[in-house]
């Protein structure tokens, strides 16, 4: 696709995105036994996307979980767990029993023909953001808020699985952040030590050093 940067008013989004599989809000399917009233659709309530679900852990069972997705229709979203479902809380591949009611959940999903929603992966209490490195230690990186960006400073805990892309990605490390340096700007992903999305401490999954253009 060679078209770049056209205003939406000139060509439709669908024309641009024809190569993508876009089956979002317009065709989202409710879980088994749940129908979406037309009256609610009419007032513009959001529907849970077929391939992505966000909510608070409301029920936990051995083979499925239920999320409370406030502001979405339906508000209660059942995710079926299979042997292939990848569970992330602090680390990788944790059992579903480590999830706690109230956890903030993001999940990649797909729908079966029967309308069941299968969880491909489940992430508890994820956090992400950007910051400026203050200190780099053997087991943690201290960030202050990047100028004019997020106001959240964080302590990123380095785990054996943490991947660090230092030197603008030229130096790739696992389990150590010693390739980072103070005053460098980074993007990061990870999971918080509690459910608060603004939590100060987080276990890092990935940390990317990047030049931002800010000075």
């Amino acid at each position: 696709m060679s078209i770049q940067g056209a205003k939406r008013s000139e060509l439709s989004r669908r024309e641009f995105l024809g190569g993508l599989v876009l089956t979002g809000g317009a065709t989202a399917i409710a879980p088994l036994g749940v129908t979406v009233p037309e009256s609610l659709r009419a007032v513009g309530a959001k529907q849970v996307m077929p391939d992505y679900a966000i909510g608070i852990l409301y029920e936990r069972h051995p083979d499925y979980i239920v999320l409370h997705a406030a502001g979405y229709i339906p508000e209660l979203v059942r995710l079926d767990l299979t042997s292939k479902t990848l569970m992330y809380k602090r680390g990788f591949g944790v059992p579903a029993s480590t999830l706690q009611l109230g956890d903030r959940i993001h999940a990649g999903t797909h729908l079966t023909r029967a309308g069941a929603r299968i969880a491909e992966w489940v992430q508890a209490n994820p956090v992400t953001g950007w910051g400026t490195v203050v200190r780099v230690g053997p087991s943690q990186v201290t960030l202050r808020p990047m100028r004019e960006m997020s106001r959240i400073g964080r302590e990123l805990i380095i785990e054996p699985y943490t991947r660090v892309f230092a030197q603008n990605g030229r130096l790739q490390l696992v389990g150590t952040a010693l390739g980072l340096h103070p005053e460098e700007n980074v993007i990061y992903t990870g999971v918080g030590i509690d459910t608060n999305p603004l939590v100060h401490q987080a276990w890092a999954y990935t940390i990317y050093h990047t030049s931002t253009g800010y000075s």
Partner: protein
Amino acid sequence: MIDGIAALESCDLGGVCPVYCGGPTCSDDFNNCAYPNYFACTGHDCTPISWMPRAGTCNSTVWFTSPCIGGVEWGGSIFDCGPCDGQWSTAGACNNGVNLPFIACVTPALFKRLCDCGDPWLWGIVRISLHV
């Protein structure tokens, strides 16, 4: 043209995605990226890696809303997306020697669609060229 990195950001629970110009918070519409800011960069020497981007493929388009411009959506082309599991490279690695600023927040849902990398929280940057 603006080259930059769209970094993963969540819009759940009200969102914390920073947006400039006093504008709205980032969109949780998976079709859109929030557009926090942009500024001129120094160009790039990065050749698109045709096999690296996933479902979105190179030059797939994402849409940005800009509180700075207001009311207009702009299409941006994806050059690099990822990394994906088992691929030891990143959109950031594509930036060797070049300053690429953040130009947007990408929602996790959009990242999953564009990059087809599974869990976007394990990865999470996209290199985008945007014409304005």
